[in-house]
């Protein structure tokens, strides 16, 4: 195995998780905001639609509920990108690449295959997240609050995910 920054195993996940838990507590104490990301994607789309298709935007029932305004959550998501970029540059791990290692070993290097599944996965995932009331970061918040919704959604995420991956990586992972 090649020694290099990519093989550095990273921070202990329990430490990372505990820091994240503390960060959520502080965020709730300071500004009342729990973590979540999928609403901001709807808001971003709403902002774009408002400019490029204003009549369609005005008729849309959903954008009247999820108002496309610059929100705490949009800034939070912009922060996730920025924070990861800072860490990757700081520790010399930033690299443009298209294929994850696990994908490459098992499913090859077809740009079409990886690109189309990532795109379709994004569409289906987003529709599902909105229906379920949030993606994993939002469901993490729901579970912190001991919500039944968080527990049900998280179980469904993993059950459906495990089945899908089993089919995609048929014959086992290398």
């Amino acid at each position: 195995m090649v020694k290099g920054p990519d093989n550095y195993k990273g921070w202990n996940p329990y430490l990372g998780g505990a820091l994240t838990g503390l960060l959520i507590i502080v965020s709730v104490m300071v500004s009342g905001n729990y973590f979540g990301t999928s609403t901001s994607i709807v808001q971003l789309v709403g902002m774009v639609e408002k400019i490029i298709a204003p009549s369609n935007f005005l008729q849309n029932e959903y954008f009247a509920i999820v108002k496309p305004v610059l929100s705490w959550q949009m800034m939070f998501v912009a922060g996730i990108f920025t924070g990861s970029l800072i860490a990757a540059l700081w520790f010399g791990e930033f690299k443009w690449r298209f294929f994850p290692d696990l994908w490459k070993r098992n499913l090859g290097t077809s740009y079409f295959k990886r690109g189309s599944l990532a795109f379709i996965g994004g569409i289906i995932g987003m529709i599902g997240a909105r229906m379920a009331g949030g993606c994993p970061s939002g469901q993490m918040s729901a579970l912190i609050l001991l919500s039944v919704s968080g527990l049900a959604a998280m179980i469904m995420f993993f059950v459906a995910g495990i089945i899908t991956v089993k089919l995609l990586y048929k014959g086992g992972e290398k």
Partner: protein, 173 residues
């Protein structure tokens, strides 16, 4: 002020996620292949820490703790669809931005999919209303559903979490 707090909180979260490797496809799919539990360790530790902290703050009347809306149709069908999409993309909405931050272009394609999905969802939202109202239980929490004090749920959750973590470490997952 609120917006700047959002940005700073996001930067810290993104930094921690990049260092702990949880934004990576290999870690997310590794968990779904039941081979690498890094993201599960990360998520569960965050949830358990947050749960204890938020409920303690609630007990001291520092804040009001309420559940999130639970609708069976949305949680089950939406949760299933999310799991399917997540497994194909290999990133969730938050981690795709983090993955793009370390140069992963497949995550960018995924983000285009997420944006398209959001646009489609906004269009089909009215048609989904029967599903989104099927089995509406309101903002119910687990202790409310069972009818016990929240610590009777939190303490067993923490205990189960720790046992699970010990088992993961023993199995080298």
């Amino acid at each position: 002020m609120n917006l700047w707090l959002g940005l700073v909180t996001g930067i810290l979260f993104g930094f921690v996620m990049q260092r702990a490797r949880v934004i990576r496809y290999d870690k997310q799919i590794g968990a779904l292949l039941l081979k690498d539990m890094t993201i599960v360790k990360f998520m569960f530790t965050a949830i358990l820490t947050g749960m204890v902290g938020i409920y303690l703050l609630g007990d001291f009347n520092y804040l009001t703790v309420t559940g999130r809306p639970f609708v069976i149709g949305g949680a089950v069908i939406g949760g299933g669809l999310f799991g399917l999409g997540w497994a194909l993309l290999g990133y969730c909405p938050g981690t795709s931005w983090g993955a793009l931050g370390e140069g992963r272009m497949d995550a960018f394609v995924g983000i285009l999919g997420l944006l398209t999905g959001a646009a489609i969802y906004a269009e089909i939202y009215p048609a989904l209303s029967p599903v989104l109202n099927w089995g509406n239980f309101g903002n119910i929490t687990i202790p409310e559903a069972i009818g016990v004090n929240h610590w009777f749920i939190i303490i067993p959750f923490v205990a189960i979490g720790i046992l699970l973590f010990i088992w993961f470490e023993k199995k080298g997952l």
